[in-house]
């Protein structure tokens, strides 16, 4: 595959992922129907409970709960495996494997690994997989705009939330621009590019994108000024709790309490 095709495929995949997350958040699964604030609070508390647990089985139970919530929220388990579990396993595995051999303790049969090492590695991998699964549940069941608004409710500074939201929005716009740019390059390119040509194209494209993003940020600032922006951002925080949200809050509270008690 050529350099241009690889770049285009990468850009396309990034846009596709963003679209899938938006599509999934708009569907009518279990978690999608719950107030964003409850999800942010509840899932974050479950992550904390998983990381604090001193026993393996409560963490495993939380992971099982996360899988059930995934299915009830109409998110494909395949997406979970490819987006979260494999990456988390590889990344954490690289850190956990030495612990199997280096942690002092009782050997398991004739193997060069210890029981304590296996437990340590098990804790690390299980905690990361559980935390990542719970975090991705929030991303796949909540529109990004609602996550940002929920952060405001938890007293995250408004400037941080506004800048974060705008950054996400303009990353997608620049992704579109980069995609169009590389597509037009491909339509005018015949044969394979040499190493120096590829480097030249990458540097030139980065320069053009940087220039465009700088121009865009200047125009966006003017557009904000034109509508009265004077350095302070004011936003609407309009959430309404329903009976279902109160029930979800109580369920999350009970689950977190049970996980903390079982893992103490």
């Amino acid at each position: 595959m050529s350099f241009l095709e690889r770049t285009l495929e990468g850009l396309h995949e990034a846009m596709q992922r963003a679209f899938e997350a938006e599509h999934s958040a708009a569907s009518r699964g279990l978690l999608q129907q719950i107030d964003a604030r409850i999800k942010v609070l509840g899932l974050f508390a479950l992550i904390v409970a998983a990381t604090m647990s001193r026993r393996l089985w409560p963490i495993a139970a939380l992971l099982a709960l996360a899988i059930v919530l995934t299915a009830l929220s109409r998110i494909s388990i395949r997406t979970l495996v490819s987006r979260v579990w494999i990456g988390a396993l590889l990344f954490t595995g690289a850190i956990a494997v030495p612990a199997l051999f280096l942690t002092p303790g009782t050997a398991i049969g004739s193997l060069p690994i210890t029981r304590q090492g296996a437990t340590t590695a098990g804790f690390l991998i299980l905690r990361v997989e559980t935390a990542a699964t719970l975090a991705i549940l929030l991303v796949f069941t909540t529109p990004w705009a609602h996550v940002l608004k929920a952060l405001r409710v938890f007293r995250v500074p408004v400037v941080f939330v506004a800048v974060f939201g705008m950054t996400c929005r303009y990353i997608l716009l620049l992704l579109d621009t980069a995609h169009d740019m590389f597509e037009s390059r491909r339509s005018r390119t015949v044969g394979t590019l040499s190493g120096s040509e590829r480097r030249h194209m990458a540097v030139a494209s980065a320069g053009v994108l940087l220039n465009r993003s700088s121009q865009l940020s200047g125009d966006v600032y003017l557009a904000m000024q034109s509508r009265g922006f004077r350095g302070e951002v004011y936003v609407l925080d309009d959430f309404r709790m329903t009976l279902r949200d109160w029930a979800a809050l109580a369920t999350f509270a009970a689950l977190v309490a049970a996980a903390v008690w079982a893992g103490r």
């Binding site: 939201g165 125009d219 936003v235």
Partner: protein, 262 residues
Amino acid sequence: MLFDLDRVTFRYEGVIALDDLSLSIPEGSRVGLLGANGSGKSTLLRLLDGLCFPQDGSIRFRGSELTEARFAEDDFACGFRREVGLVFQNPDVQLFNPTVFDEVAFGPLQLRWPKSEVRERVAGILDRLRIAHLRDRVPHRLSGGEKKRVALASMLVLDPAVLLLDEPTASLDPRSQSQIIDLLVEWGGGAKTVIVATHDLADLEDIADRCCVLDSGRLVAERAPAEILRDRDLLERANLVHAHRHRHASGAMHSHPHEHRR
């Protein structure tokens, strides 16, 4: 007089965008700024909106000179932003909020309107522009026509006395173009000041009662739209009409300068 421009010159890194331009715009007028790409229309709108300031000459708004120092005063800046609104040519620069509703609410919130009034006014303008169904959508996923309407709604919600529009119908399909033109014609019952930059001659007589032609940053004509449209030499000099091959109903094919009308 609403706007009074006296010998205004503006340069971008040494390149002249507006050159010694003098112009007066009365309250309640509907002005069409005509000119080819790069003629200085967008720069003039930004100057009128107090987003940049002339290097030479002066701009007065209801007698007050527009300077950076004046915009540093909260009262003046808020009052001016409440009165004058600019809709940018590229809606993407104007749509930076997470949802359409938040986008339209952004301006009123910055001007510290009460939140209950903001909600009411935003819902009203979304209904009026027939985009209420988009209220929870993410702006970057909208079509070009929808983005333009949201950008327009984000300004109209402030109900400004002066509306500046930069190519409001550019890159839109014919139906969206005519809907936006209808809205501009009806908006404010004709009592508001509307200044529209365009190089589309088709709707000029509908949206403007006065027309200024810019060429390379200079004001080359200022007349009624009908007179401007009759002046072929002027339109050709300002690159607003061009010659290309076309076929008439009789089947004859030839080439001469002409404007396009829908």
